[in-house]
């Protein structure tokens, strides 16, 4: 039983982890919790749904969700968040809520409120070391891991990725060392959007596609981003996995209603002990 829950938690955790990756990149570099990340996921789910319906190919769907979500993410930066860059965090937060509502409204107009379902073939599970694992879960885990591999390749093996991490570590230092912030920010928002898009598609395949789906995943994504330490991509994914697994495995103990609140409880507990997050560095008070 625990093993089964663990497996369910892994896939769920990968979805949260990808969403948290999107949140933590923006949080670490643009310095605010992007409340539009959830609805960017929804956009990815719908784009993937449309592409999948037209072609029947999961690969094409993934490409569409990445493209659409990255484009929306970049548009949000250029039109809204860039002009607000020097303003208080609360202004950015409120604007992000506004962007989230705009995306959701657009999707509602375009697709209506009926549920949409990815028509993916369902198959009976295969047995791996005594655990029953559905082939779709394996596929989704593969998709998530591939997406993460690409994201980490960009972050750790390309010049722009190194610059992004440098800005996340110390914006002032990065500025004096000649990093061009605009290019870094464009890359950042594209990458964050793409991660959210893939997460949205995975969530859409696991569940059903509806305009509210992404907004409802926002809280766990925030929790994972903070838990993992703001600006730490590895931490975000790890924390997403921890939360996903903890939510499933703890269900027999806390019950089915409160399992949603678990993300919040874990978050609060961690912040009590480590106010800067689990993996986060202690920043000196200047």
């Amino acid at each position: 039983m625990l093993g089964q829950l663990f497996v369910a938690g892994v896939v769920h955790g990968l979805v949260i982890g990808l969403a948290a990756l999107a949140v933590t990149l923006v949080f670490g570099i643009a310095r605010f919790p992007n409340a539009a990340a959830g609805d960017t996921m929804t956009l990815g789910a719908y784009a993937g749904f449309a592409a999948h319906g037209a072609t029947g190919s999961l690969a094409v769907a993934g490409g569409a969700s990445v493209l659409a979500a990255a484009a929306a993410s970049l548009a949000g930066y250029l039109l809204v968040f860039r002009p607000l860059a020097r303003r208080p965090v609360a202004a950015l937060l409120v604007a992000a809520i506004g962007v989230a509502f705009l995306i959701r409204a657009g999707l509602g107009l375009a697709f209506g409120h009926q549920q949409r379902v990815y028509q993916v073939p369902l198959a009976w599970p295969i047995e791996v070391m005594g655990l029953r694992i559905s082939p779709m879960d394996l596929t989704l885990a593969g998709v998530a891991l591939a997406a993460l591999a690409v994201a980490f390749l960009v972050l750790y093996a390309t010049p722009i990725g190194r610059q992004m991490r440098a800005v996340a570590d110390d914006p002032d230092l990065a500025r004096v060392s000649g990093i061009r912030p605009f290019r870094v920010m464009v890359a950042l928002w594209l990458l964050a959007g793409a991660a959210a898009g893939i997460a949205g598609m995975m969530l859409g395949i696991k569940t059903v596609v509806s305009p509210e789906m992404g907004w409802e995943s926002l809280l766990p994504a925030f929790a994972a981003a903070i838990l993992g330490g703001i600006g730490s991509p590895v931490g975000a994914v790890a924390a997403g996995l921890v939360l996903g697994i903890a939510q499933e495995v703890s269900t027999p103990v806390v019950g089915f209603t409160y399992k949603i609140a678990l993300a919040f409880a874990v978050l609060l507990a961690v912040l009590l002990v480590r106010p800067r997050g689990l993996f986060g560095r202690v920043e000196a008070v200047r």
Binding site: M1, Q4, H12, H113, V117, W124, V208, F256
Partner: protein, 403 residues
């Protein structure tokens, strides 16, 4: 003096709020279509609203009710009592509607019914909460329920479980009034038959995975799982269940186990599911008329949305009652509703036929699209329940259960 000014104000506002086209025409009978277009009820709300508009179109085409055209003002409850109360106030005070049709969730109906009672107008709803049958909610007997109560559904589920020979049922319920009402109704009825209840799980909406919930109910090795669920969560749960590879029988309410579910999951997953619904008379002429109208309005089959069939019936019942009462007064209309909906009388499938029969002086009995539509002393329908088996992607009715 005050009254006069109030009337003046109200008339002015009503004029403002009324489209120019209509203002030029003769007096109409105004009704409000107050439906859950957004929020939790959104899968059904817009269809419900369109069914009302389509029904009114048909009624007006047949010459209107008691000589007046019916005019519809539509609003969105947002499936939220707060938004619904403001919408209802606006319908009553500004649009001066004489009946409100199609509130869906129990929360919204419970919040709206004090307002309709106070304004002395009818409320026709599809909510399951038993509290809506009796005072204080239904103190003036102006509330009509077009949906079987959750409790009746539960009792029907228990009858079916007995008839199908199940012995160890478990239950899963969506955490809202309707979901829990269904499963608790079932558990009470099941226990009353001297049986033991199995595991009971109440789950939250919009979870990416229901693995934990499924494992919990399956742990007790039930031979059937009785659901109190809606379409999106049923889709996710069944998909997850299928991928777990454990054979299981399901009894699911008809609004969740419907053609959309089959379309979403395919015949393999849905094979053998027992879907239960108040007999929605697919064979009946009323259903055929509704189905055609619904397809025209939404491009979807009428079976997709049982609540739309109910709102279709609301408009018809109301119009027939007005025709029967030969009056536009609430008291007279209210008195006529059971006359036109309940037996005895000539079974009529639509407004035009009913109007003709009433004109000929015959007693009519409207047989609706959603059920045969007979109201008891509480204003609740007492439908029979159709038991459907999903076989190779087809939803086939096997038999009918009477409670």
């Amino acid at each position: 003096m005050i009254t006069q000014r109030r009337t003046l104000l109200a008339t002015g506002a009503a004029l403002l709020a009324t489209p120019r086209v209509v203002r030029a025409q003769a007096e109409t009978f105004r009704i409000g279509a107050l439906n859950p277009v957004t929020g939790a009820g959104s899968p059904y709300g817009s269809g419900m609203q369109r069914a009302i508009l389509a029904a009114v179109e048909a009624i007006n085409a047949a010459g209107g009710a008691n000589g007046r055209r019916i005019e519809v003002f539509s609003e969105d409850t947002q499936t939220s009592p707060q938004a619904a109360v403001l919408a209802a106030k606006k319908l009553i005070e500004v649009n001066r509607v004489r009946a409100i049709l199609g509130t869906w969730s129990s929360g919204v109906s419970l919040a709206v019914i004090p307002l309709t009672n106070d304004a002395d107008i009818l409320l026709m709803h599809t909510s399951g909460a038993p509290a809506l049958s009796t005072p204080p909610a239904n103190a003036k007997n102006l509330g009509y329920r077009f949906q079987a109560t959750n409790d009746r559904f539960g009792r029907a589920f228990a009858e079916i479980a007995v008839r199908e020979g199940f012995r160890r049922p478990a239950t899963m319920a969506f955490n809202n009034a309707s979901g829990i009402g269904n499963t608790e109704g079932f558990r009470r009825a099941w226990a009353a038959k001297g049986n033991r209840n199995g595991e009971h799980v109440v789950y939250e909406p919009n979870q990416p995975s229901y693995r934990a919930e499924l494992l919990r109910v399956m742990n007790t090795r039930p031979d059937v799982i009785v659901m109190g669920s809606f379409l999106p969560d049923t889709t996710i749960i069944l998909r997850e269940w299928f991928q777990m590879g454990v054979p299981m029988k399901w009894i699911i309410p008809g609004w969740a186990a419907n053609p959309q579910l089959v379309q979403a999951l395919g015949p393999a997953v849905t094979e053998g599911i027992i879907s239960v619904d108040s007999v929605s008379n697919e064979g009946s002429p009323a259903f055929a008329a509704y189905d055609a109208a619904y397809r025209r309005a939404t491009n979807r089959p009428g079976l997709d949305n049982v609540y739309a069939a109910m709102t279709w019936d609301m408009a018809h019942t109301l119009a027939l009652a007005i025709e029967q009462a030969k009056s536009f007064e609430t008291a007279a209309i209210n008195a006529a509703i059971r006359q036109v909906a309940n037996p005895p009388g000539e079974a009529v499938p639509g407004f035009a036929e009913g109007k003709a029969a009433i004109a000929a002086g015959r007693k009519v009995n409207y047989e609706g699209a959603s059920s045969v539509l007979d109201f008891d002393e509480f204003g609740d329908v007492t439908p029979d329940f159709g038991v459907f088996f999903i076989e190779r992607g087809q939803i086939n009715r096997r038999y009918v259960v009477k409670i």
